[in-house]
Amino acid sequence: MMRLPAARGALSAALLRALAQPTPGDRLPTSWAEPEPDGEADAAITLWTLQELGYRGFADVDETWEWHPDLVALRVALERDLEVRLRKRWADEGHAATAADPAVALFDLIDQHDGPSLARHLHHHGTVEQAHELLRQRSIYHLKEADPTSWVLPRLGTRVKAALMTIQFDEYGAGDPTRLHHHLFERGLAAAGIEAGYGAHIDEALPAVLEQNCALTMFGLHRRLRGSALGHLAAVEATSSLPSQQLAQAFTRLGLPAAMVAYYDEHIEADAVHEQLAVRDVCAALVAEEPQLLDDVLFGAWTCLDLEARTATALLSRWGVPE
């Protein structure tokens, strides 16, 4: 079971001290004095830890903490801050839908987003060390791939729910646990000699990676943000096939094991399907039912692409690669 992460500031340190206590009562102990976060990384690791209480929890942490009123209040406050920050970035970009057809508007937004590409760098110039570092960063999401989007299912109408389930069923291996995507990633990591435990690499997760994961969970858990959750899904799926092909080729060139290549190989064809389903049958169908959600769908898609670009910029900068 996952260990708690290291603190990244005063707020996460206070949370970790609280979670180390075995049996929370109705209120936090009087020693709890919720400090201000020491910047975005401290806020992000605190929020990530609070959200993970609802996924698989932590070793030696009492499960009743998940719904402790004071921790729920802290989670909601941190999610509000995150949403405000993400919406400000979106507003600063000044996007508007390019077409009346929501599928066209969504495809346009994704096609026109021009961020740096980690897959392109690794395809041509990447090293084994860079590949391993990318895989450790990706592990924060890929070891729970598809799970945050599953929170959205009960909030949807008949047609959109059936379409989303079609994608999720394929993500979860279509009934075959050996084809379940986050299991494929876990097997690939293990074959590559990289620690494959859930959350094992959280202490080196970049702030943009934490934000991406926290945003995805926030979108999934707030019914109000269902449009953004599905827009985020569409952006992931629509920017996956071609980069997955580049990464499969890069990892083959670098001699990574077949099990790791197989994860990316699977996503070439799978996500070529999911892209069409996510944009047309999920997002466009949602907007047809609830037209007021179009901006949230586009905001969710753009946020995914923006945080992915920030992740790529951070890694390329660390590797000394010009964008």
Binding site: D170, A174, E269, A272
Partner: protein, 69 residues
């Protein structure tokens, strides 16, 4: 919410993209080679530029708009 739904078509032609085929499918190519997919939905290439024939690999997006299917 609009719950007036109908059964999805077995084959859907996506504008500028692949054909989606619902359910397990076996495709025989021009050389007589058979390709089977057991995915819930499969995407058949329509731009003829895929590296994973007969399945879509997203390459149509690299084509100029006028060359897409």
């Amino acid at each position: 919410m609009n719950d007036d739904v109908e059964t999805p078509a077995t084959v859907v032609l996506c504008a500028g993209g692949p054909a989606l085929i619902r359910g397990p499918v076996t495709v025989e190519d021009a050389d007589g080679v058979r390709h089977t997919s057991t995915r819930p939905v499969s995407a058949l290439c329509r731009c003829a530029c895929t590296s994973r024939a007969p399945w879509c690999d997203g390459t149509h997006k690299r084509l100029p708009a006028g060359k897409r299917p």
